[in-house]
């Protein structure tokens, strides 16, 4: 089986893409086969991985220019045509800015939130299934994010330990709960990933304590986040993480020994161990 993870937060600019890309890269560097699915019309994960443009990476087997857009609108398509190899063990299904149009088209199609699930299932039935699938979502709870929630088994919530960031979490959990009840009973929230973290401030300590006790209280409830927690380590703020996307590089290409790289590498090991020991 594979670990199928959607990285979700309707709040913008909280670190979804930075986390999807660098966590996926770190996991792939541990020798695991990882697929990133870019589900965001901004196509930042695609850009970050240097996977933009029509030519698929050599040996990818991908049809030129095939993106997640095509996959969502054509259930008959072979999803492997959209898979591009970007590094050893690291693959991506690219997005492009036309995906915004796909969002409005999708809304009126049958099975509009099940499209991604169907595509992933087909992919995993093929030879060489992926061991980890990470889905980068847009900052919204619309049809694209709902596709991710219907397809994934787990939700990671990247966020900043700030007061205003807490405000959106309950709405997000409500949406997860609604999708879990209606179409995806196996869906659960595994944890929060703290991004751009400055652990030295009282404020962030208080917000983290808030989150810890919120999840603690959920242990006894029948909710999809009853086993959720705040992941450690937090990912510290590090300018290198903001620089490398401009070169189409992950932090491991760009600055493999900087704090941003060590934090994501440590997080990846935690994510892999968790999975292996299940």
């Amino acid at each position: 089986p594979a670990r199928l993870i959607a990285l979700i937060n309707q709040k913008g600019g909280v670190g979804k893409t930075t986390t999807t890309v660098n966590l996926a890269a770190a996991i792939s560097r541990e020798g695991r086969r990882v697929l990133v699915i870019d589900l965001d019309p901004q196509a930042h994960a695609t850009l970050h991985l240097g996977a933009s443009g029509d030519e698929p990476a050599p040996g990818a087997g991908a049809a030129p220019g095939a993106t997640v857009y095509d996959l969502l609108l054509d259930p008959a398509m072979d999803p492997r045509e959209a898979v591009r190899r970007v590094r050893d063990n690291l693959f991506v299904i690219a997005a492009e800015t036309d995906l915004a149009a796909a969002e409005s088209e999708l809304v009126s199609q049958p099975d509009r939130i099940g499209r991604l699930r169907g595509a992933i299932a087909k992919l995993q039935e093929g030879p060489e299934p992926f061991e980890f699938v990470l889905i980068d979502c847009p900052p919204s709870l619309g049809v694209l994010t709902l596709n991710a929630l219907a397809a994934a088994r787990e939700v990671f919530i990247p966020m900043q330990a700030h007061f205003l960031a807490l405000q959106g979490v309950s709405k997000l959990l409500e949406t997860v709960g609604a999708v879990a009840r209606s179409v995806n009973p196996k869906l659960f929230v595994t944890g929060v990933i703290l991004c751009m973290h400055d652990g030295s401030t009282t404020h962030s300590k208080e917000v983290v304590a808030d989150l810890d006790s919120f999840f603690e209280a959920a242990r006894r409830q029948d909710v999809p986040w009853r086993a959720a927690r705040v992941y450690r380590p937090a990912i510290r703020r590090n300018i290198k993480l903001a620089e490398c996307p401009s070169f189409g590089q992950t932090i491991f290409d760009y600055a493999p020994t900087c704090p941003g790289a060590t934090d994501y590498a440590e997080l990846a090991r935690a994510v892999i161990n968790e999975w292996d020991t299940l």
Copy 2:
């Protein structure tokens, strides 16, 4: 006349709310009459100013619980009923999370993007018009933001000096251009406000240089951003700015001598001077 400013960026978490609230507060502390309009269903500006809840501040003249939602859906309403006094010289038209429903309702109404403009016009015809109106927008280019673009005369773009942040600017300018051509020929982009700025990194210097030369090149074009520039000072990253919303306080209530306060105070003086010398 009044300076009518929409703070816009479809990218989330870039500092729109923090800037709307603290810039407005700083301008009000210089003795100018300022109105904040919270146009975001997240209602963060409302929260930040301590203006949530149904009881209007004393002497506000506002009807209990009247929000920007009511204003947008009922053109016959007296907009003064939605104005709440929050500090000396500082007023707010509050949002609430139901505003998300208003967004879908609005989409099917006549004159759906002109509603806010009509309300502001009525307000300014009354006694005691405001001298500065700052509109906090959601992270999207939907009907709420379009209302702001149709109503405002100027656009400020809060953003972070990061590569991924640059990606969204051209789309934003495209939208401003479209609204300017169709319904609001006086609309222009005045400038970019750099938020959460770390001026010591090469990366941010490069992004700022990119922005400066982009606007320089626009000087000779017939576009609504031909007179735009990057505002100085940039607003430095300062944890106090993330803390004070949790107390319903502006930075001037919370920590009036910290760098966050001095930066917004300095920016406010620049914004006021610019206006006075016009």
